[in-house]
């Protein structure tokens, strides 16, 4: 296999700072050495490559925008995006792991947590010694999280939690769950540690997507947590939605990595696959497909970079994040399917990464706000009419 040297038709690299390029290159090397050689086996066997967690921590990929005093790199959002992009060139499941740890666990603890919670959890989550998960979605409340049933009740010395969450990445392997539930009718965040009485996290099996990632249910039956485990700064549904906005930003970048992997594989295949005595790359229909994929990658690269620059300036709107997530995920899935067509029957084999990416992207298009919900969020922004309650 040829070494991956990036996809950059418009020299987007010239718009990156030296340290941003170094971050990208370092993660790219890591993905080539440590993820790509093992990922197909883990995917096939439905096993999360647990041994990589500490290595990812050592590289500094958890909570990369958070302050150095918590053991984080304190880098900008463009660097965070590039990390997501490179990781997802390996696999969406690995990127999901880092997304969840960073945007959905470390971010809320940092943003809504007490000093004590930050000092205790953030360094351990940054190093990968501890794993976290985020519990918002419920079996009957996906796009409409405000309807959640999970609730907390004030009891002597703390809270009693009851309810259930579903589709929780890392749930079964997490040491701490950031769980959202209603306290006196208001959504609040709670930290629930593994092993707490009444808390179980069975793994959901039978997925045809994100098979190298752990997805779980979280079940709370009269789970008592001490007073100090509430996230004191969390107030209402806005708090978890702020977390999702962080994660969606990472996804918008991540899927470009999947697109690059599929494009690279399809381009190499097209140049070496001979039919009717010439490479299929020499046929117009194949060229049209390759050009379409490359163009979509290029557009998504520019959307992401500008989104990141706006975020670094503190000027980004959540509707812009929605547009990036919506567009890039849709195009990633569409172009993965086109790339698979270029490989013909070979495209379905796990000798090539395309089918795995394509299957993963089915989930990625749906999670963290479905394609439809992002459409309605932007629709409301531009028309002033909310097409949902």
């Amino acid at each position: 296999m040829n070494k991956f040297t990036g996809v950059d038709y418009f020299n987007v690299e010239s718009l990156l700072a030296e340290d941003e390029i170094m971050v990208r290159n370092s993660v790219r090397e890591f993905v080539d050495d440590r993820i790509i050689p093992i990922i197909e086996k883990h995917y096939r066997e439905e096993k999360f490559p647990h041994h990589l967690v500490k290595e990812l921590g050592k590289l500094g990929l958890f909570g990369i925008t958070l302050p150095q005093k918590y053991g984080c790199a304190e880098m900008n959002n463009v660097s965070y995006g590039l990390v997501m992009q490179e990781l997802e060139r390996g696999d969406s499941g690995i990127r999901s792991f880092v997304s969840v740890q960073t945007s959905l666990v470390m971010y809320p603890i940092f943003t809504f947590g007490s000093e004590e919670q930050k000092d205790y959890w953030l360094p351990q989550l940054a190093s990968g010694e501890k794993i976290g998960c985020f519990g918002l979605t419920e079996p009957d409340f996906g796009s409409n999280p405000g309807g959640m049933i999970t609730h907390a009740e004030k009891v002597n010395g703390g809270y009693k939690i009851n309810g259930a969450k579903m589709w929780i990445t890392n749930g079964t392997i997490a040491d701490v769950a950031v769980v959202w539930g209603k306290l006196d009718g208001e959504v609040r965040g709670f930290l629930i540690e593994k092993g707490t009485k009444g808390f179980t996290a069975p793994e959901m099996k039978g997925k045809h997507s994100l098979k190298a990632s752990v997805t779980s249910e979280l079940i709370f039956q009269d789970v008592f947590i001490p007073e100090k485990n509430i996230l004191p700064g969390s107030k209402g549904l806005k708090s978890p939605l702020m977390c999702l906005n962080q994660a969606r930003y990472g996804i918008a970048w991540g899927v470009v990595g999947s697109m690059m992997a599929c494009y690279d594989s399809a381009l190499n295949y097209a140049k070496s696959r001979i039919q009717f005595s010439k490479p299929i790359a020499a046929y117009q229909m194949t060229q049209e497909k390759l050009v379409y994929i490359l163009t979509e990658i290029t557009k998504a690269q520019f959307i992401n970079l500008q989104l990141g620059r706006l975020k670094d300036k503190g000027e980004v709107k959540h509707t812009q994040v929605s547009m990036a997530k919506r567009n890039n995920c849709e195009k990633a899935l569409e172009t993965a399917r086109i790339a698979r067509e270029i490989l013909g029957a070979n495209g379905i084999l796990d000798e090539y990464p395309i089918m795995r990416h394509s299957q993963n992207l089915e989930s990625v298009k749906t999670y963290e706000g479905t394609h439809e919900m992002h459409t309605l969020i932007i629709g409301e922004d531009i028309t002033g009419y909310a097409a949902f309650d």
């Binding site: 170094m22 370092s26 790199a73 660097s79």
Partner: protein, 248 residues
């Protein structure tokens, strides 16, 4: 102890190389440059030595401004200081070694790591020449390195096996693949490297004994020939290997 590592900035081995318009240099346009892969083993061994014995590490590179990228990576991996010997003109191996030896002497480094060769021009002699110019001992193509007091024991890769050799500080070691597993530049390392300064110096002028006359690309490969897909093709294959390829 002061530990130096000499690093070279070379075209990525995956890059397609074109010859420049002068006919005697590589056209750098469109070519990605990287840290010479063997130098990554040298950097790692320098870092490991510092972690074990303390002291200070310095990376030295000879070349133009572009070499800063390679020095920056060495810093991001954990090297303490970096020196760019700024001269982008042509130098033969001896002339490169002279500039490096001068800087190593100025740094007062007793232990010096090189990659066993630079993958751009492949002369594989700069480490050894530098040792000679410094009057240091030298072990080349090392696949293991142990320092005990003043004594160094290395395994060297040789044809068909390994030999174990011993020498003393001060010394130059040239690194072969297998010496260690180079670490990745961590994000924290990259942030720390941003704050470190690359010191620029002008080396003594080149005195070259070797001149490049011309560069040529290798002849393009001939297309392969499929003479059959089963055992019936074997006699014909043997005939061709004997009569056309003349290899058996």
């Amino acid at each position: 102890m002061k530990i130096a590592v000499c690093v070279s900035h070379v075209p990525d081995t995956a890059a397609k190389i074109n010859i420049g318009s002068d006919g005697i240099s590589i056209d750098p346009s469109g070519v990605t440059y990287v840290v010479n892969p063997y130098d990554e083993f040298a950097i790692e061994e320098a870092l490991k030595s510092k972690e074990k014995f303390g002291g200070e590490t310095v990376a030295i590179s000879l070349g133009g401004d572009a070499n800063k990228e390679t020095l920056r990576k060495a810093l991001a991996m954990g090297i303490d200081n970096a020196v760019l010997l700024k001269d982008s003109g042509y130098r033969d191996s001896l002339s490169v070694s002279k500039a490096l030896a001068e800087e190593i002497k100025a740094q007062g480094a007793e232990l010096v790591f090189f990659g066993k060769q630079s993958v751009d021009f492949d002369n594989s002699v700069v480490g050894q020449l530098t040792a000679e110019l410094l009057g240091y001992n030298c072990i080349s193509v090392a696949v293991s390195f142990v320092l005990d007091g003043n004594k160094i024991i290395c395994e060297r890769e040789i044809e068909g096996g390994k030999e174990v050799v011993e020498t003393n500080l001060p010394a130059v070691i040239t690194a072969q693949k297998g010496l260690n597993e180079p670490r990745y530049a961590s994000l924290k390392g990259i942030m720390a490297a941003k704050k470190k300064e690359i010191i620029e110096k002008i080396p003594a002028a080149a005195t070259n004994y070797v001149e490049v006359l011309t560069m040529k690309k290798p002849a393009s490969k001939q297309a392969g020939k499929i003479i059959g897909t089963d055992a019936s093709a074997v006699p014909e294959l043997i005939r061709l290997l004997r009569e056309e390829a003349k290899v058996i």
